[in-house]
């Protein structure tokens, strides 16, 4: 074994057993700048190899869940698959028929993405908000929903947030896909009926249920939206799609 290979193995051993520690080698590293550079490079390469493998693993998972496309692209199927297909064609039709009438025929998430957009900031201009709420609203307006939630949470620890502010908190939850939290908060606001955003709350509550995959509850709330209410047209369109 060459001297270089010997040093390589020694560094590797040190990096792999760092917790146990090799005091003498650690001292060598502290003394020798060139050796420290080699240790750092070798450590970075080993870390990089692990991180690259994780990237590859995620890509494999992604491709595994998207292999449908490859399946469709491959048009050479054994004859028996066609025979089975013919024999079970009725079952397929029954399956799709069932989906059409009883199942989730439309993709709720897709509809949610299409219809959901955060309500414009209509409370900051009033100027009667605390500094924390104003900061949260500024983050909300810039699309930093997670950070806005952070501010809302911190503020709520020390004070009671108004229903109007809680309405915007719910919209932040919805913007990052935390629909369950939004449903909980919006339902309370709707029952209390003290917010000036009550018509908007009904619309967003319906959307939160949609985003949560509950089409039936979504429909219930959409049906509450009257002709003169906020987003009536959209509610009707959505009702005809779900």
């Amino acid at each position: 074994m060459s001297e270089e290979q010997d040093q390589f193995e020694q560094i590797e051993k040190y990096l792999q057993n760092q917790e146990e520690g090799d005091a003498a080698f650690r001292e060598d590293i502290a003394r020798d700048k060139a050796l420290k550079e080699e240790v750092d490079i070798q450590h970075s390469v080993m870390t990089g190899v692990e991180n690259a493998a994780i990237r590859e693993e995620i890509m494999n998972i992604h491709q595994r869940h998207h292999r449908q496309k490859d399946f469709v692209a491959n048009d050479r199927y054994p004859v028996w698959t066609y025979a089975v297909a013919a024999g079970l064609a009725l079952l397929v039709l029954a399956f799709f028929g069932y989906q059409q009438y009883f199942g989730q025929a439309v993709d709720h998430q897709e509809l949610y993405s299409e219809y959901f957009e955060p309500y414009p900031d209509a409370i900051s201009l009033r100027g009667d908000q605390s500094r924390e709420v104003a900061q949260a609203m500024s983050l909300y307006a810039s699309g930093s929903y997670q950070e806005a939630i952070d501010y809302f949470e911190t503020t709520a620890e020390g004070t009671v947030l108004s229903d109007d502010v809680q309405f915007y908190w719910s919209l932040c939850d919805m913007s990052i896909g935390e629909n369950k939290s939004a449903i909980q908060r919006l339902s309370t606001l709707q029952e209390r009926a003290e917010s000036r955003f009550l018509p908007q709350i009904t619309w967003y509550l319906a959307l939160a249920y949609l985003g949560d995959g509950n089409g039936s509850k979504c429909k219930d709330y959409l049906n509450l939206i009257k002709e003169e209410d906020f987003r009536y047209q959209e509610a009707q369109r959505l009702l005809s799609t779900i």
């Binding site: 970075s44 991180n51 890509m59 469709v72 066609y82 013919a86 397929v92 930093s144 990052i176 896909g177």
Partner: protein, 220 residues
Amino acid sequence: MIFWIGPIFGELFYSIDYITVSSKAFNNLTDQEILIRLRSHDRAQQNEAFEAIYLEVYPRVKNFILKKNGTEALSLDLFQDAIIVFFNQVKSGKFQEASTISTYLHGIVHNLWRVHLRNEKKMPRAELSPYEMDLVQDEDRAHVDLGKVMTRLLNELGDGCKQLIQLYYYERKTMQEIKDHFALGSEQTAKNKKYRCMQQLIKLFKSSNITKESILSPEK
């Protein structure tokens, strides 16, 4: 009709398989179980956790990036980066279990996305809030850079060396297993081969455009 029903059947069977697999991973693993798997030294368990996270978080990441006029490829790239950041924070004990994994990862993606915009000069004045700054530290960015650079370098290295290096450093196979895998004469031969492959990789790494900030010291 039969000719187009055949492929549809394939799709149908796949969909059923997909739903079963998804719900299994999604329903069976709580945040706590995911963390236990990530902290284990068992790659199979860690991969199971990655899959559960992918199924739960990636669709939302994709929606978020597409809404911001990004592409699906960018959403996957940022998701891969976010997993690397998260995984290293979990291993080093920096991940505080104050929020759900889903929310936390979304925050990381948001941070990485803003940095991406800034790097692409699409949002030159974009500043990061203190919260965002905290979420992804310099060391995390170094991990992300190393992952990306090494993906490229390993491919430059060729299949044989790439496979050997991954088997030893990622899969944690022993030299005996590597000797058997490559049908080599002895463990020493396997060891020498591994050394030569690593020397090539280190050489490529030193001549790559990696910045000093991305070099990680084991003491960090």
